[in-house]
Amino acid sequence: MSDQTAPLPLIMPLGDRGLLVRFGTTLSEAANRHAVGFAAKAEAASLSGVVDVVPNLASVLIRYVPSIVEFERLAGEVRLLVSASEVDTIDGRVHAVAVEFAGEDLDEVAAIVGVSRSAFVAMHCAEPLRVLATGFAPGFVYLGFHPEALRVPRRAAVRSQVPAGTVLFAAGQTAITSTDIPTGWHVIGRTEFRNFDPTVEPPTRLAAGDMVRFEVAR
């Protein structure tokens, strides 16, 4: 992010034990990079009274114990951290994820983009994607961003359940499910890759800032 000055985030309470550092109310590459970078800084700072630092798509939730640190004091520490240096670019790990591109909505998505099924798959896998955030459900990851040509809105109807390992597509992003969830995103494929295993610590393999290279499963 070179020497570009980070926009001052909004610092607000979330209940009486949470502090949210919000870098945007809409999702952008810059807001997401600021959130992921700030979360790493806040984690490394080991702030007193903080029990959890959670990066989201464009914000960071800090859970704290108010008997150890009050909101105003923590907000002050957060402001100092935000302005201390420019946003670090996270050098995430790179993962390869093999996908069987045969989802129920693949033809429809290719038609919206205006290309053949195989051309869509090639476009989808052309560049590695960044893990934008884990959220919505255990191990569920948002990955982005695809180029503008691959920006397709969500489906009008919600599927009440798709299984773990479903590869979803909408809003210029790809997502991977790790549990059974309802979704309004397009189902484009399936993967053996599982990003949630509660029998190991940590229970997920992908972290915000990591890169994922999608491959066609053979």
């Binding site: 607000m12 309470p13 979330l14 209940g15 009486d16 034990r17 949470g18 949210l20 919000r22 945007g24 109310t25 809409t26 999702l27 979360a39 029990v51 959890d52 630092v53 959670v54 990066p55 989201n56 798509l57 464009a58 914000s59 939730l61 859970r63 108010p66 009050e70 909101f71 955030a133 884990t134 959220g135 919505f136 459900a137 255990p138 191990g139 569920f140 790790s178 549990t179 949630f196 509660p198 029998t199 610590e201 940590p202 229970p203 997920t204 972290a207 915000a208």
Partner: protein, 287 residues
């Protein structure tokens, strides 16, 4: 276990620290009641049975000390009524039966021994979204470790059901509701619906506070326990211990920590009012 109501699980103090992996902390719906049951024992195993409409079981070994609290339930041991909350020493063959009483949705049994079983991410707390921990059913058996050392403990004392409006701090998306809607939210009255579980409680909105609510397209953002989110059809839901890690419905306000336990114990058809407080005020509040 010879009779088990729905949503009966094992719960300990919870599993904080895994939210970045999409896992909420879970833990008791009524934390204070869970802690009181431990207090009556003067040293209890970390894990409780959390129950709803009651349960019954027979002790196969023993003896085993046990304390019970949360709401107002009716407890019998071998058909003899015992005052609630309770501390007892169960003998081999004792038949314990708990049925709903005057108030509350969630009760707790804690024991003077640890319930055996695997930890998942450092905790035995069941999490309904992540599929962690144990959900109990008829025929299930729990095994206990050795009796723990205990200190002198106070005699169990009944807790009154709290009254009054629920204190809230304006939420993440309060500014997306117009002034009139925010005004109706704090002046109006809501009603607890029958649709409640460990993830959240739906409220009925007889005054139509959120009728005609615009469907907002919001960026999915962090959720905390006590968040009050408004669905696209105007239904308010108070999110509880097994909440989703993030969500895209607008959150108008968040219950203060001191009021979450009391809210969890509200039965269907209870009236609910909300009162905004400042953060500084919230920290000084007691339930």
């Amino acid at each position: 276990m010879t009779r088990v109501g729905p949503l009966t699980t094992l719960q300990d103090a919870g599993r904080p620290g895994w939210l970045a992996h999409g896992i909420s902390a879970s833990g008791p719906m009524d934390r204070a009641a869970f802690e009181r049951a431990g207090l009556w024992l003067g040293g209890a195993g970390s894990t409780a049975i959390e129950f709803t409409s009651g349960l019954a079981f027979v002790l196969e070994g023993g003896p085993l000390s046990m304390a019970a609290d949360g709401g107002g339930y009716a407890l019998t041991i071998n058909d003899k009524a015992i005052a609630w909350p309770a501390r007892v020493v169960l003998k081999p063959g004792d038949a314990v039966d708990i049925r709903p009483g005057s108030w509350g949705n969630w009760g707790y049994l804690r024991f003077g021994a640890e319930i055996e079983g695997e930890l998942a991410l450092g905790s035995r707390a069941a999490n309904s979204i992540a599929g962690l921990g144990r959900v109990l059913g008829v025929g299930d058996r729990l095994a206990f470790g050795p009796e723990l050392e205990r200190s002198r403990a106070p005699h169990p004392r009944a807790t009154e059901q709290g009254q009054g409006p629920f204190r809230v701090i304006w939420g993440l998306h309060a500014d997306t509701f117009d002034h009139a809607t925010r005004g109706r939210f704090i002046e109006g009255s809501f009603r607890v619906s029958a649709r409640m579980d460990r993830m959240g409680t739906r409220l009925d909105d007889p005054g139509g506070v959120f009728a005609g609510q615009r469907v907002l397209s919001l960026l999915s953002d962090a959720i905390v326990p006590g968040d009050i989110q408004i669905l696209g059809d105007g239904t308010p839901i108070v999110l509880m211990r097994d909440h989703q890690p993030t969500g895209g419905y607008p959150r108008i306000a968040t219950l203060v920590s001191a009021d979450i336990d009391r809210f969890a114990q509200l039965r269907p058809s209870s009236d609910v009012r909300f009162e905004p407080v400042t953060l500084k005020h919230a920290l000084g509040l007691t339930p």
